[in-house]
Subunit: 415 residues, 2 copies
């Protein structure tokens, strides 16, 4: 079943409000086999709403609209859609009474006159009772197709979708061999989008009916597999087969599924191995510690760390020799090694991560440009170091450095 969404509101269009409703609606609809094929946002203008609704109904004959159902002047979705369906508005005295009682319960008697319009229902429409606000949802069916009108307030929209819309769509889909959209995300890090694509190569041709999307971010490249138009069970099987096909191409860059955080993976490896961790951070300034301690229960493995931003701190708190810094510079292999060793010894831990780099915007040189980062990880007596050159702004360089530090330790813990 193909559906179009129309979200209505000048606030959305001007960008003062982020449209989270549309994303949530699409995810929920997909689970019952309804596929959102287009989304349109227009402002609170009757002409614009009219055109967007007519266009969408012509294309798919099934449209869900959110917003524009409140009692204030700028809310006009109901009037416009009633006109499209040639269904005049009629006062629903039963719903008017429901509204009156709700206002009475809040101690507001009489009910504001402006709310009376919310009890006006297009003839023949089904009222979707809204127990979480005052504007009811509406379900219209007629020659133009199906139009479902929902309030724009996120919580009210969510509840109406769950209790009223999803059951009706499921009912409509019955006996039609209902199909769903499902997805699975394989998370990778330490490899760019195009190198990953080269590694995957022709494996991508063998993942059908799943489709593949590359989603790069500072944390790496997520690979989202999506399957549509299959019954639920077949969709899950197809996703598993597609993942099994791709995984060998991802090698050790793959670290988890869906929203798994790399820090949580590292935490699990540390806990399972009975390790304790400390960090020594220069350019990341605390970000590595923050990532690890974001994991609930982090205290089981994480002891703490030193934010060694100034060279004097590297010397005094980590025991890095000043001569080493003077000879090689603070962003260098010998210094990152000394930072990792120093924090391991001083904090009495058996694993550590150290980072030193040039996050920018200043501080770069021809030899060590902005984005140059040295990373070290220690596990007992083993140590690995890595030099990276990250592109991007200060924030990106730092975030990529923290992720790379966690990943370096992950690789060592898996050996």
């Amino acid at each position: 079943m193909d559906i179009e969404l129309v979200t209505i509101g000048t606030e959305l269009l001007l960008g003062f409000t982020i449209d989270t409703n549309a994303a949530e609606l699409a995810r929920v609809l997909a689970t019952v086999g309804a596929r959102v094929v287009r989304r349109t946002t227009v402002g609170d203008d009757p002409g614009d709403i009219d055109r967007a609704m007519r266009d969408a109904l012509t294309r798919t004959r099934f449209v869900i609209a959110t917003g524009g159902l409140g009692p204030t002047r700028d809310d006009m979705t109901k009037k416009v859609v009633a006109a499209i369906f040639e269904a005049p508005l009629e006062l629903d005295s039963g719903y008017l009474e429901v509204l009156r009682q709700r206002f009475a319960a809040m101690g507001r008697v009489p009910m504001p006159e402006s709310n009376r319009s919310q009890a006006e229902i297009p003839r023949g429409a089904t009222v979707l009772p809204n127990n979480w606000g005052t504007a009811p949802g509406l379900w219209l069916e007629g020659p133009p197709g199906v139009a479902v009108l929902l309030p724009g307030v996120p919580n009210e929209m969510r509840k109406l979708v769950e209790h009223e819309v999803v059951p009706r769509i499921r009912e409509k889909g019955k006996g039609k061999g209902e199909t769903v959209v499902r997805s699975l995300t394989l998370r990778t890090t330490g490899i760019g989008e195009s190198s990953l694509a080269a590694q995957i190569g022709e494996r991508e041709d063998r993942i059908q009916p799943a489709t593949l999307a590359y989603l790069p971010s500072v944390n790496g490249v997520d690979l989202r597999l999506t399957v549509s138009n299959l019954p639920a069970e077949a969709a899950d099987t197809a996703l598993k087969r597609a993942a099994a096909e791709l995984l060998p191409g991802l090698r050790a860059h793959y670290y988890g599924d869906d929203t798994t955080d790399l820090a949580a993976i590292v935490f699990g490896l540390l806990r399972d191995g009975g390790h304790t961790l400390a960090v020594a951070e220069s350019c990341t300034g605390g970000m590595l510690g923050e990532r690890i301690t974001a994991v609930p229960g982090a205290s089981a493995v994480f002891r703490g760390g030193v934010i060694a931003y100034a060279n004097e701190v590297k010397v005094a708190s980590l025991g890095v020799s000043l001569a080493l810094i003077n000879e090689h510079g603070a962003v260098s292999e010998p210094v990152v090694r000394a930072m990792a060793t120093g924090v391991s010894e001083r904090f009495g831990v058996d694993t550590s991560i150290a980072v030193t780099g040039i996050a920018g915007p200043d501080g770069g040189t021809a030899e060590k440009p902005v984005g140059t980062v040295w990373l070290a990880a220690r596990v007992q007596d083993r140590e690995q170091v890595m030099k990276r050159r990250f592109l991007g702004e200060r924030d990106e360089v730092r975030a990529r450095s923290a992720q790379a530090g966690l990943d370096l330790l992950r690789h060592m813990l898996r050996q």
Copy 2:
């Protein structure tokens, strides 16, 4: 100038990604008098992209499209739009060289073959150089109107809009007597939304033609003033008058405008006062250091810090006495004081912030429930401590703690 946005990506349509680009783009365009009148989202399907772009061009003759410019197979915006403008793709050898050099700088030689397609430019199109990623923006003008194609990666889109798109639109709008939408945000922290509303009281009646919106977040409550349908200069004057009306009601909770970060304000106060800073963090796990070091040039004031997650670290690295911890608990006034004193002495700085608290989900007691946080700030021999009880999840408690620590120091530095 009326503009339509077309955002492209199956991910957006399926609701896996929230479309923040569209909102940001609309806000920025409004500041130069360009009004977004409709926004359409379609998936990575050439037919759908083609229809959406043609419809939008027919309505407004000016369309900005985001997404679908990357090197992987699912990116097809450029091909489709080139066909609409009847502008065949041609290899731009200059841009190809730019790409090659960028990959070489990252040590990736040869450049992956899939990136070569990013140097293919529709004939006659203007390349908008993307110094923050590999896919260039494109500006096409022809019989169908104007189409601007931007990458979907938020940071790249943002930079291209700022450096390439906004100046061109400003140039186009010159001398047309355009009206604009402008907004100004006053940032506050350390006070709840309803207390702030009570303090503002009837001042709100005197800010017309500006309107006021309350935007609460973990960092405090932002107050957004908006003015629409005025020429640029009149809009700016109206905003300034409205801000001057509200500011006395905000008292010292106000710390800056628009996207000003509290850490940057604290950094400025420290630098101007010739101070040096160190931090001692328990529950925030590095977040305070991360906030401060996110400010470019932080090294002028920030020396470093100790992430004292385990009690042993509080003792060994900050000199907190074990007896004190045993008597009062790690989350207590005496311990947070000792942490601030300890880090000031050991790092040889004249200002410091210390935080210790229970971020949850576990670790709370009847006496010290989850969300209990002790904060201390020192400036030379002065010291202030504060106990707070933050509501929310682990992440929220931590973020609110970091913000409160910065704000405590800000208050002391202003005295």
